[in-house]
């Protein structure tokens, strides 16, 4: 029952037409060129895998304005005091070492006919294939009274970095017995358990430093990710501290006044000390400028993450509209590898294997009380479709919860070295 490789590849792998006739798309200019916009979970992974696996056969340029990427994942743990800000920062030196040309600039336009990307610095980058992984921006007017100019008074902290530090500083400066409010976003949004892990971490901090303080969560949704697990954890660890107001009680009917520091829920105004407004989200603006969005997100084909609007553009991560996967760093990383394999196949004729996707999201509720949810996915003609999944159970032993937390730390090291080398 020994199998030779040819026989088994014939059985299991999708061999694209390009294998028979390697497409030389780089007509007239030597090596094929890939430009990646956004050096986060999706973009950094895609750039690194294409450069690493093509062994120099493809020119890969990554456009990313910041010199240091602060992960949103684990940024709630920073709020809770479990991580330092510097634990979350990653530079791009490893990508440069794997052969990626890293350009620190903003992409401000995409000319799909000329196949070029315009940078804020004035230059223009030609591409054969363009990968967009710009993350999210906020929907204007989503929370009446809030706009991006109010982000200092009422931080979103949903892009990690200075916003996260600001929210932590405000948390630390809260008066004794004060009120911390979170305005949660409607679906779909980045990191479904994110707001609730954040509430848990804020509660952890307050329990130790300001135990009479209160937390209000105004939520436009009737239920949320890992709800039973979070509610069990809140009752066990932070009894009486957290008031979650869901859709049924007007949690979706909110407005804020950043100057007066008030939050109005279903007509009832409350004075708050910290107000973490997480508005409705949409694809990072460059996706819209490139003309690949339909509504708030960019629809893609599940098999290779190519845009439904343009076969030479791929959209990864939060910005994409792909089907069943949650918008997470794990998902973006998983999609990036499928995309990298496909792009390399088209440009150099390398083997293209069937798409497989997976995701696991860990959340920390309190010290050593970690929970997780995850699933595997496959590409169907319509979408990325869920195959199988699991979720932590309520009532699990403390030991299992501790192991789950330790696993999340291992995952963090794993994914960040997978992204940045």
């Amino acid at each position: 029952m020994k199998m030779n490789r040819r026989a088994f590849l014939g059985k299991t792998a999708l061999v694209t037409a390009s294998l028979a006739a390697p497409a030389v798309l780089a007509d007239g200019h030597g090596k094929p060129r890939v430009v990646v916009i956004g050096g986060g979970a999706g973009g950094a992974t895609a750039a690194r895998y294409i450069a690493k696996d093509s062994k120099g056969a493809i020119d890969v340029t990554l456009v990313e304005p910041t010199r240091r990427y602060y992960t949103c994942f684990f940024s709630n743990l920073y709020l809770g005091g479990f991580k330092e800000m510097e634990d979350l920062g990653h530079g791009y030196g490893g990508l440069a070492a794997s052969g990626v040309n890293v350009v620190h600039d903003w992409a401000i336009g995409v000319d799909r006919d000329a196949k070029t990307v315009t940078l804020a610095g004035g230059s223009s980058l030609p591409y054969d294939k363009l990968i967009l992984s710009p993350g999210i921006d906020f929907v204007e007017g989503a929370v009446p009274g809030w706009d991006i100019t109010a982000q200092n008074a009422m931080p979103h902290a949903y892009k990690a970095g200075s916003q996260t530090e600001l929210l932590k500083a405000q948390l630390m400066a809260m008066p004794e017995g004060g009120t911390f409010a979170t305005v949660a976003p409607p679906n779909p949004y980045r990191c479904p358990p994110g707001p609730y892990e954040r509430v848990s971490m804020v509660a952890h901090f307050l329990k130790a430093n300001n135990p009479t303080a209160k937390i209000i969560v105004a939520d436009p949704k009737p239920k949320f990710s890992k709800m039973a697990l979070f509610q069990e954890g809140w009752a066990n660890h932070y009894e009486g501290m957290i008031d979650w107001i869901g859709e049924d009680f007007g949690g979706g009917n909110v407005s804020v006044d950043p100057a007066a520091m008030t939050l109005t829920i279903d007509g009832e105004e409350t004075k708050v000390d910290v107000c973490n407004v997480i508005p409705a989200m949409k694809a990072g603006r460059i996706a819209e400028l490139a003309g690949v969005t339909d509504g708030n997100w960019a629809p893609v084909n599940a098999a290779d993450m190519s845009s439904k609007a343009d076969p030479d553009i791929y959209v990864l991560g939060d910005a994409s509209q792909q089907g069943d996967m949650p918008k997470s760093g794990f998902s973006a990383n998983s999609q990036a590898k499928v995309c990298a394999n496909a792009v390399r196949g088209v440009l150099t004729g390398s083997k293209v294997f069937p798409a497989k996707f997976s995701n696991t999201c860990w959340s920390l509720i309190d010290t050593n009380d970690g929970v997780k949810v995850g699933a595997t996915y496959e590409a169907t003609p319509e979408k990325i479709a869920k195959v199988d999944g699991f979720i932590s159970q309520t009532g699990e032993s403390a030991e299992l919860r501790k192991t789950t937390y330790e696993e999340s730390e291992g995952w963090y090291t794993g994914i960040t070295s997978d992204m940045f080398g």
Binding site: M1, K2, M3, N4, R5, F8, L9, K11, T12, A13, Y49, F330, N333, S334, K337, N341, K351, F353, K356, S358, T360, K372, G374, A375, T376, V387, D388, G389, F390, E406, E407, S408, E409, G410, W411, T413, G414, I415, S417, D418
Partner: protein, 235 residues
């Protein structure tokens, strides 16, 4: 007579050794100091070579007298032929009194009389064998249930190139450089152990929900491909 003793003895210890939990081992750090008295003849750790005595890497689960490039005494060759394997309990008995255990051994060492010292040095040596935290099939926590796998599945030759593609799903959590904080290392495993472990997840004999889910959709060839790839991964 001696022959018969070995057969019976080793039959017992193979069964018993499965029951020795990792926690029953001694304190590896203290064991490092005890090992000082062995160093004159034995090397262990990275780059260890045979000297007066054989090197002691990968000792756990190794049959006695098994290193091809070391010339063992007759006494050890006999022990090897009768199926003696090194596990926590055989090592313990041997170290207590080497001569009474293998009368003709060239190991001119009086033995370690203090039981704690023996357990500590065994724990220290344990560090240089397959790590049961990463490979639960490894001695001394090996579980028999994982091993009733169809030999045809074990015989599949994995394609490391396909494994490399598939591996990108693993490296989101398992570090490619073999780091193992919070999530076990999966690099450089013996291919067979890897295949057995993955099938144990697939068949739900091993309990981890993420791994059960990941393994569930890998077919036999894909598991073999991953085993081949990670086994060869160099850093």
């Amino acid at each position: 007579m001696q022959q018969a003793f070995w057969v019976i003895f080793s039959a017992c210890v193979t069964v018993a050794s499965a029951a020795v939990a990792a926690d029953d081992l001694g304190d590896a750090e203290a064991g490092q100091a005890v090992f000082a008295q062995c160093k004159g003849c034995h090397q262990v750790g990275e780059g260890a070579k045979n000297r007066i005595g054989p090197h002691l890497n990968g000792l756990f689960g190794r049959p006695a007298g098994a290193l091809e490039d070391f010339k063992y005494s007759k006494s050890f060759q006999r022990a090897a032929a009768s199926g003696l394997e090194w596990h926590a309990d055989t090592l313990d008995a041997f170290l207590e009194n080497p001569r009474s255990y293998a009368s003709g051994t060239r190991m001119s060492f009086r033995g370690i009389k203090n039981a704690k010292d023996r357990h500590d040095v065994i724990a220290y040596l344990r560090l240089f064998s397959d790590d049961p935290a990463n490979i639960p099939e490894a001695d001394p926590t090996a579980t028999a249930t994982d091993h009733d796998l169809d030999p045809a599945i074990l015989a599949i030759q994995g394609d490391p190139e396909y494994g490399e593609y598939l591996s990108s799903e693993c490296t989101t959590c398992h570090q490619a450089d073999g780091g193992d904080d919070g999530i076990p290392s999966i690099v450089l495993w013996p291919e067979e152990d890897f295949v057995i472990a993955m099938h144990a997840y697939k068949n739900k004999q091993r309990q981890h929900p993420v791994m059960q889910m990941m393994a569930a959709r890998l077919n036999d060839e894909e598991i073999a491909a991953l085993a081949a790839y990670f086994n060869r991964l160099e850093n």
